[in-house]
Every structure is written in C-alpha cells, then in structure tokens.
Subunit: 269 residues, 2 copies
C-alpha cells in the first residue's frame, strides 16, 4: 500500500485545507466531511466520494476499519496521511483519522421534482449552523430537499455539513433566484407557504397539502415582501413571551413537524 | 463629563475582556452584553446593569442615545471608552458603541418557584448557542425559566446570551444537580416530562399539565437513564427520515410549542 503523505505542503493536502473557503469549494465542486459518522453517512446514503482520507494511526475503531473496506470495495480513491498532516486540516478536536472529499450535488429546480413532497426554501440564510439544522429537521420530518434562494451562506460550509448530521447527503439541494422560482412555480403549480413574522394565519390552523414548499426568510430580515407575495399562504407562529421571534431552525422545525403531523393524520384515516 | 478611557490596559477594560472566560464570570458574578438590542432588553426587562459601556463616537443612533439617557436616569455607572478600546473587547463586527456588564441572576430551586408554570431543564448541555436558542423558544412559548443540570456550558457565555435574543433577562435561571432536583421534586410535587430518543409516548399524545418541567438531555448523549427514571412521563418526537435525532434547540421548540398549543386550547374551552 502507498506510503502516507507526511508533508502538509502536498498539493492534495493543500486542496483539502482550501475547501474551507467557499470560492475553492465552488471552483472544485467538492466539500470536506470529517469523522466516522459523516463519512459513514456519505458511504451509506450514496454521497459521491471523491477521495477518502485516512490516517491509520488515528483510525482505531472497528467501525472505522469497516468504512475503509467499504470505500475500497467501491473503488473510492484513498489518501493516506500522517497524524500531523491530518491535524493540519482536521476541524474536530480529537480527530478520528477519517475524512473525505465529497462531490457537491446541486440540482436545477426543473430536475429536482420540488413540486412534489415536502421542501423548505430559505431566503438568504446567513448562518451555516442554522442551514444545517434545518436540513436535519427537514430530513427527520420526511422532507425531500432544500432550496436556497438568493445570496446566503453555503450548504457545503463545514459548519452546515456538520450541523446537518448527514442530511446533507439525503436531502436534495437547489440554488436559485426569486424570479426563477416564480417562473417555475407558475409552470409547475408548486404550492408555497411562507413563514411570516407579522399578521398571518396561525401555523396550526392551515391545512398543508402533501406537496408543499415552506419558505423561511433570513435571520435578520425574515421573508422579503417580494417573496411573501409569491406564497399561496402565509403562516405565523403565535408567541407569548417577550422575544419577538424564534431562531430560524427552531421556527422551521415547529412548522415542519406540524406538517408531518397532518400528513400522518391523513394517512391514518 | 468624564474623559473616555483610551488605554486597553485599564483595569476596568481588562475586566471586560476577562469576562469571556467562565471562571472570571463566576468570580465576578457578571457577564458581558453588547449591542443596542441586548442592552435595551437589559434596561427594559430589569436586568441589573453593573456598568454601561459607551463609545460616543460609535453610538450614533437615536435609540442608542435614548438608552444612555435611560441608564443615567437609573443611576447605572457609565464607562466611556475610545473606539479603539471598544474594539478591544467588542464581539460584533461593526460594533454599535454600546455594551454593558450585567449581574448574573441565579436562583435556588426552592426560591425559583419552578413547580409552577412552564420550565425547561437541560442536562449537561454543551453548546452555548443551543442553550441560548432554548431560552429564546422557552420565552416565546410563555415559559418561566431554565434549570441547568450537572456540568454543562454556561448560560452567561457570550454566545448563549446573544442567541437568547434577550430571553436571558426575562427567564429565571437555576443551576442544580440531579440529587437536589430529585429531592426538590419529591417535596414540591413538580411534574417532569423527559424528551427521550428511544421508545416513549409520541409527544403529541400526552396531555401536558400547566405546571411542567421539560427535561432535555445533552447533544451527544441525550437524557441520562438516572434522570429519565425521575420523569413522570417520557415523550419522543417521531421521525421519518434517515437522521436519528434533532438539534437540541429544535427538539425543545417542537415540544414547547405543543405544550403552548395545549395550554391555549384549554383556555379557549
């Protein structure tokens, strides 16, 4: 087997570190995942692995050895590195000696099939942790995918990937603009429900269709008026305390699990 | 009026920076808040301000001027600093020239009145952003306060304070240990509901009492068996995707807003 790379100036190792930067991620179409859980999710849920990165001295668990075998069986290229090289790009403390470069998988709205099933669209989401937590809750609620609208943070930001707890591999991803969403909505008949901070129907009083896109605005500004007018329905979460809004991922989760509850209630009938 | 402090080696300025550290916060019983919104919340909701910190060159909005006047009327000591000194401790980019040292306000379980109203208890919560988001959702759901159980992150961590969006001032705070909670539970008759990842009643199928403490486990380990057995009821959130758990603050929000929904439903009857 190959000798592990021992220089952190190696071009492949430099690429790994560069992927912290959004522009480098876009240029290469890759992103970085780290740890037994995320690499395992990528292998299990069909994420396209470009390279598996292994530090044998650190990869001690049976589960880790098993992931390495799985990757070898799937002919994923393997990059062996020394502990100090692994430490040069590791995000976690106490790194587990396994990481990967995975291929980004963006879809066009037209290909994504976003007119069916449960979707979330985030307008100009700023915080990658929020984006990842929304992906995680969306997956848990039986969702299909996430649409990112306008300028916002990157779904493949390391913090978003980690916060998604693997949902980055199971949920479809679309990046688009308001006008394109509007044109597609007219053509596809997709049903849009917007979460609105002002006057709107309480979120529990709406009968959500099976095929629905939940639109959430940015952390600072909420949904823009331009996007709000595109919605078939605006809903709000009634609040009883002194704060006037919820964390974005918490608000999305509350509405998503109401949607899930209604879906399952219908199935039982 | 006093001259602004221009040396970042000034002892008061050094104290401000030291409050990033948990031990220094505990020793001084103070915490640091920054920005128009949080300082405004502290003044409005009765947070005890130890010192208001102002940089006149940066404090340009009318709202900011108004906060300064309010603090002066309440005889809050005011520390004037130069822009470079303000920058030496500012957490935000584009600082607004206003910050404060506020007094921590921990209560004992016996004083807190946690046997009435809606409370959350977090066991060994690790992430201060999660802690802050739980406080925010708890406040929005009409909650009374938060109980921190065992070793975990600090409610007065700057990230927790910021994520709470001011709920750090409106919610009561208790720090205790499992045994003390159990003793108090027996004496007070408090009703405990635990969020459980395994087999448990679906969270929508339980009739939550008005006076209830929702217990949530840590991000990594969930609720400990020792705490789970103390609960009058365990509930779980049914999930339909490939991820096997939700973000802590998202999970808490989903259950809290079910509780709120039930409370309001009862009122209508």
């Amino acid at each position: 087997m190959q000798q592990p790379i021992s220089s952190s100036a190696n071009p492949q190792v430099k690429l790994i570190r560069k992927l912290r930067d959004r522009k480098a991620r876009q240029r290469n179409g890759l992103f970085y995942v780290e740890g037994l859980k995320l690499v395992g999710d990528a292998l299990e849920r069909g994420g396209y692995l470009h390279t598996l990165i292994v530090c044998k001295e650190l990869l001690i668990s049976n589960f880790g050895q098993d992931l390495l075998r799985q990757a070898q069986e799937k002919d994923v290229p393997i990059l062996l590195v020394t502990p100090s090289v692994f430490a040069s790009f590791a995000l976690k403390e106490g790194p587990q000696g396994i990481a990967a470069l995975a291929e980004q998988a963006w879809l066009e709205l037209e290909q994504a099939g976003a007119q069916t099933g449960l979707w979330v669209a985030l307008e100009e989401v700023q915080d990658p942790g929020n984006l990842g937590s929304v992906l995680r809750s969306l997956d848990a609620a039986g969702g299909r995918g996430l649409i990112l609208l306008g300028e916002g943070t990157d779904a493949y930001h390391p913090t978003a990937v980690r916060a998604s707890m693997g949902a980055i591999f199971s949920q479809k991803l679309v990046k688009t603009r308001r006008q394109a969403l509007q044109d597609w909505q007219k053509a596809s008949g997709a049903h849009l429900v917007g979460a609105w901070c002002g006057e709107a129907l309480p979120y529990r009083d709406y009968n959500y269709p099976e095929d629905v896109i939940l639109l959430m605005g940015s952390e600072q500004k909420g949904l823009s008026p331009e996007v709000a007018v595109m919605c078939d329905q605006l809903v709000h979460i009634p609040m009883r305390g002194s704060v006037d809004s919820l964390n974005l991922a918490c608000a999305a989760s509350i509405i998503l699990f109401e949607m899930l509850h209604q879906r399952e209630g219908r199935k039982e009938k």
